[in-house]
């Protein structure tokens, strides 16, 4: 019990003091919370894994923000990758080799295989639905639920573009896979206060 209280306190301390306290714990095996570890824990609980594949950023980030793979299940990515010649009305064709490499990257890092909390929530919300493999992130029940309070007039701002597909119009650190509520600043509108 004593240990439990102690570790909880350690978590809180490292969280508030950040760097300052790091040295004090770093050589203590039981309570070795470094800043890096803490940030990783925070990311796991509030975001999805960031994109780490250069080919992906180049090929799938040229027309829009490169969506992190942890935002859709593997079965969805397979469908997206099989239809690139008619990709939401655009042409995003790739040669066979690149298409295969990127399909592998996406399916290996999809929401099904991720331990990040947002990916888990996405998978849970797709269970027992008619569309377990949507083509769009913006069609996922969890996604729709989180965005249900945003008024149409904000979504229709030219800077946002009439739908929610451009995550980085509002989530300032979307590129890092981070979708924290306190990092939201809507282009053409400003900070979001809940």
């Amino acid at each position: 019990m004593k240990t439990l209280i102690f570790s909880t306190a350690a978590v809180a301390l490292v969280g508030t003091l950040g760097l300052g306290i790091q040295g004090a714990w770093s050589d203590d095996d039981d309570h070795s919370f470094s800043t890096a570890k803490w940030n990783k824990m925070k990311a796991r609980s509030t975001g999805v894994a960031a994109v780490t594949n250069a080919l992906y950023t180049e090929e799938c980030g040229s027309c829009h923000f490169a969506y992190p793979p942890g935002l859709l299940p593997a079965s969805s990515w397979q469908k997206v990758m099989a239809g690139l010649a008619d990709h939401f009305g655009d042409n995003a064709e790739l040669d066979a080799n690149e298409q295969q490499q990127l399909t592998e990257y996406l399916t290996n890092n999809a929401a099904d295989t991720s331990s990040y909390r947002r990916s888990r929530k996405i998978m849970n919300s797709l269970q027992n639905t008619n569309t377990p493999s949507p083509l769009r992130i913006t069609e996922i029940p969890y996604f729709r639920h989180e965005h249900r309070e945003i008024p149409k007039r904000i979504i229709n701002l030219p800077e946002v573009g009439g739908n929610l597909s451009q995550c980085n119009s509002c989530h300032q650190h979307a590129e890092k896979g981070s979708f924290n509520e306190d990092e939201i600043s809507i282009k053409g509108f400003g900070r979001w206060k809940d």
């Binding site: 655009d90 042409n91 040669d95 597909s165």
Partner: protein, 123 residues
């Protein structure tokens, strides 16, 4: 010395005349550049939508453009404004294929690609 060297190379590259850049097998002639300009601005209606190369790349390709669907900014297409254009043949042919199909409803001929390339290099 060590630190000044990369800066010297960078300076040398920026000072290179346009003709020394790779992939300039086709010499921009006034004739093909004119046809290229025409094709660039030519509009066609596909799936009820009016489309041209200028829709995303603007009719002044020295300016930055914007993807009409996603709003993502696109850097200028004219090599005079953006030295990264027409340096990677694989990238160039990939985008000619996609964008001609989407904008014109068909692939571009070799002549049309040469015309557009000449136009973009002439401005």
């Amino acid at each position: 010395m060590k630190s000044i060297f990369p800066a010297l190379i960078a300076a040398a590259i920026t000072l290179l005349p346009n003709s020394a850049l790779p992939n300039t097998q086709i010499e921009p002639s006034a004739f093909t550049a004119k046809s290229g300009e025409k094709l660039w601005n030519q509009t066609q209606t596909i799936s009820g939508q009016v489309r041209s190369c200028a829709s995303c790349h603007t009719s002044d390709p020295r300016q930055a453009g914007k993807h009409i669907r996603t709003g993502k900014p696109i850097k200028p297409m004219a090599p005079s404004a953006n030295a990264e254009r027409f340096v990677d043949p694989k990238k160039v042919s990939k985008w000619f294929k996609r964008n001609c199909k989407w904008t014109l409803g068909r692939e571009c001929s070799e002549q049309e690609k040469a015309d557009i390339t000449s136009y973009l290099k002439s401005i």
